[in-house]
């Protein structure tokens, strides 16, 4: 298989998905800064948001270069409209509470560890370099969030209930990570990166034992589907973008 099996548009879309996932989750997590349950978590969540935003900058820059229309990281982050964002819906739903934030970070970090590991062998060498750097960060995020999932699930009756509610809410959105698409197939064929559906079994092997240790019940899969990575987002996305893009939209062309 070679790069010819993937169109430029598909290649860009695959990279944008990676970029938008970390950008939108980074934006969500940054909302915690100054409001976490303990100072240590203020620092840890800020750190994770910083890592994700740092990853998004590299990925957006790379996507802009692939596109070749002169769009930089900020133009891609702040001047695209909702339907052009390719993050999964799981990234954009509100933080709600520390339980939901923690469970989301856990489910996503586990996915990212697997994905970055595969991407570090990408035929897209720039992407491989970003992946190698990001893998180290994702491993830390996974360890940290897994410890908290266990603490919260196997803590008090109240924390168990809240964490289970968080898992019940988020679990249906996690299915979208593994939904197949022509972009996945093309990326896999060209050796750019795996089809995300190919990671599902490994992801479950990583996630389920931690949830079990946390005494949480994994919900059954339902027919619910979300479509963020295809550009059809939840109602929450527009509000997130309204906040995030406010300055660039209000002062077009200004340099900051």
């Amino acid at each position: 298989m070679s790069e010819h099996d993937i169109t430029r548009a598909e290649h860009i879309e695959y990279v944008l998905r990676l970029a938008d996932n970390v950008l939108i989750l980074g934006q969500r997590i940054s909302e915690w800064c100054g409001h976490a349950p303990v100072i240590e978590e203020d620092l840890a969540l800020s750190n994770m948001a910083l890592d994700l935003i740092g990853q998004s900058r590299l990925l957006l820059t790379h996507a802009g270069e692939l596109e070749g229309k002169g769009r930089d990281e900020d133009q891609l982050a702040f001047l695209r409209v909702e339907r052009d964002f390719r993050n999964v819906t799981l990234m954009e739903v509100p933080n709600e509470d520390f339980g939901r934030t923690t469970v989301r970070n856990f489910l996503f970090s586990a996915f990212q560890v697997l994905l970055w590991d595969k991407l570090s062998a990408s035929t897209d060498r720039a992407l491989a370099a970003i992946a190698a750097k990001s893998l180290k960060e994702a491993r830390y995020h996974l360890n940290h969030s897994a410890e908290w999932v266990i603490r919260l699930g196997d803590g008090t009756a109240l924390s168990q209930q809240k964490t289970q509610a968080a898992l019940d809410y988020l679990w249906p959105y996690s299915a979208e990570l593994f939904a197949d698409s022509p972009v996945d197939a093309a990326a896999a064929a060209a050796g750019i990166g795996p089809a995300w559906s190919a990671l599902e079994a490994e992801w479950e092997a990583l996630v389920l034992p931690v949830l079990a240790e946390a005494t949480l019940v994994v919900p059954a899969r339902t027919p619910f589907k979300s479509f963020g990575k295809f550009g059809r987002h939840s109602e929450h996305m527009g509000h997130l973008l309204a906040t995030m893009q406010y300055m660039q939209r209000t002062y077009p062309g200004a340099q900051w």
């Binding site: 800064c33 100054g34 100072i39 008090t156 109240l158 340099q255 900051w256």
Partner: protein
């Protein structure tokens, strides 16, 4: 961030006064006079310990409350680079809070006790954080002026007589200097930009200038006499620090191309310093007394984070206990 040179009594401690041992006191005084450090295990007068707890905890509270006005702009930062810089800065402030609480804990109080004193309103924090951040340039101006004033206040603390506080301040000051440069850089960039950007910078400077120079606290002649100078906790007077700050800042404002909102500000050749106008101490005391624009919101935000996080902290304790019981059973 962010001390203000104002140590506000938190109320008299109850209970019997400790009897002070004159021999220990002589040894303590000799160490201070020789410029040495007092360490947590050393004997110290009760009043010294209480003064330090109050000052270090007010400083820690200021860092934690100080995360809020700047945190207000994290989700709206105008570029990804600026978002990352701001997040890292606010995170640094949380870190400063953490190691200042740890420094206070070496004096025999717990972080929870100190934190509850903040939430109940019994303990104070720097009143600069009771002003709102209204436009993006506020982030740069806080770095330039507020962090700049804090650094002036804090550099002498790197040599203060209490070892853990002095060592914490060395790290804090290094990071604050970095924040100040980043703030100034943000403003330089905006001043090179559009008319609207320059207006934002001037608007922010107009609002933050006077509160910044109030951060040095009341004039020396109006300051309550304390033992802080004798104990080597406070080494330079409020007015001297303020003058040093004004002298340094006027030139930076010129380079930036903004005006400072004080018609009386002018170079005094005879003094070798800038003269500046009268500070509105009524406003200062009003804000310290709880009547600033954001006093209520800042404490409410801290209280909400504390209340919302209660179940998380309880879960962590409950899990740790379960874990230790299981380990004992397994042994």
């Amino acid at each position: 961030m962010y001390t203000q040179s104002l140590s506000i009594p938190d109320g008299e401690a109850k209970g019997p006064r400790k009897v002070e041992n004159p021999d220990y006191l002589a040894e303590f005084n000799a160490k201070i006079d020789a410029g040495g450090f007092i360490e947590p295990k050393d004997w110290m007068p009760e009043a010294y310990r209480k003064t330090l707890i109050r000052q270090i905890s007010q400083h820690a509270h200021s860092e934690i409350v100080g995360m809020l006005p700047e945190g207000n702009w994290i989700t709206r930062a105008p570029s990804l680079k600026r978002k990352a810089i701001l997040l890292a800065k606010v995170q640094d402030e949380g870190g400063h809070g953490l190691y200042l609480y740890a420094a206070a804990e070496t004096l025999g109080v717990s972080r929870d006790e100190l934190y509850e004193a903040l939430l109940s309103g019994k303990a104070k924090y720097s009143s600069i954080f009771n002003y709102p951040t209204l436009n993006w340039a506020d982030i740069g101006v806080i770095g330039w002026l507020v962090d700049g004033a804090a650094i002036m206040n804090q550099i002498p603390l790197c040599k203060c007589s209490y070892g853990p506080y002095a060592r914490a301040m060395i790290r804090v000051c290094k990071e604050e200097s970095f924040h100040q440069r980043q703030g100034y850089d943000l403003l330089l960039q905006m001043m090179k930009g559009t008319e609207e950007q320059r207006e934002m910078v001037q608007d922010a400077v107009n609002r933050w200038w006077w509160p910044s120079i109030m951060m040095f606290g009341p004039h020396d002649k109006d300051s309550v006499h304390t033992d802080s100078a004798r104990w080597g906790i406070k080494r330079i007077s409020n007015d001297d620090l303020r003058q040093k700050f004004v002298d340094a800042t006027v030139k930076q404002a010129e380079v930036l191309g903004v005006s400072l909102p004080d018609p009386a500000l002018k170079w005094n050749e005879a003094r070798g310093h800038y003269d500046f106008g009268a500070i509105d101490w009524d406003e200062f005391w009003s804000v310290v007394g709880g009547n600033g624009q954001c006093n209520v919101d800042r404490l409410a935000a801290r209280q909400k984070a504390w209340d919302d996080g209660a179940w998380v902290r309880e879960a962590a304790i409950a899990h740790a206990e379960k874990h230790s019981v299981r380990q004992q059973q397994a042994a």
